[in-house]
Symmetry: C2
Subunit: 131 residues, 2 copies
């Protein structure tokens, strides 16, 4: 198990973010790179987390929302009391996401219709121009 770690630059290139962003995420406890002297080294775990962070952002979640979700993904042998709370929270988030998915589907349908309509208008306009 070669635990490949990435420097901050490699991490930035891999995910197309800036060093500032990674340091900021660490300060907000979203990432936990290990330290070699002063330098940060990002593990496989950090990579997985960052992937979910960037995904969550696209869904409009705040970094704090995301942090709480990430916690659920990393409970190997934690306190059961907290686990119970986290599961409840996760259920809520899950429902939110399902609603969001449904709304998104509806919005996609509507936008598709609008585009069809607009393209027909363009077609008609081209026809009129030819007259």
């Amino acid at each position: 198990m070669t635990e490949t770690v990435l420097t901050i630059r490699e991490m930035c290139d891999a995910f197309n973010v800036t060093p500032r962003t990674l340091r900021f995420y660490e300060s907000k406890e979203l990432l936990f790179p290990i330290r070699e002297g002063q330098k940060r080294l990002f593990t496989r775990r950090d990579r997985a987390r960052l992937k979910l962070i960037l995904r969550g952002k696209r869904f409009g979640f705040s970094l704090e929302d995301i942090r709480q979700l990430l916690d659920l993904y990393e409970m190997g042998d934690q306190q059961k009391t907290q686990l119970s709370e986290t599961v409840k929270l996760a259920h809520q988030r899950l429902e939110e996401m399902k609603r969001q998915r449904d709304e998104l589907g509806q919005t996609i349908d509507e936008l598709t219709q609008q585009i069809d309509w607009a393209e027909k208008q363009l077609e008609k306009a081209r026809h009129d121009d030819a007259a």
Copy 2:
């Protein structure tokens, strides 16, 4: 056709937003309430737009993104040149939204699995406690 218009307060109550938010959206040309003297009156059109605005926000779109999308929904007899551009932009947004929908579905699946796993851990913990 009784064109029911709403005062700012009625509008706020209907959509659970603050007056400040509605005035802010007007200043950013997302809403166009008519004026009776000084007071704003929100039309059916404003209601439809606000619904889409709030929806868009949940998807993580910026207000500027949303404004451009809204334009597509309200092109009765505008300039064709702009229409063509807007349609192109809308296609891009549509693809974005489809990707987002797919990612969201995947995230929902993953989160569901995590919850299942966590609940089994809780079940096991309860069993261990009974011992």
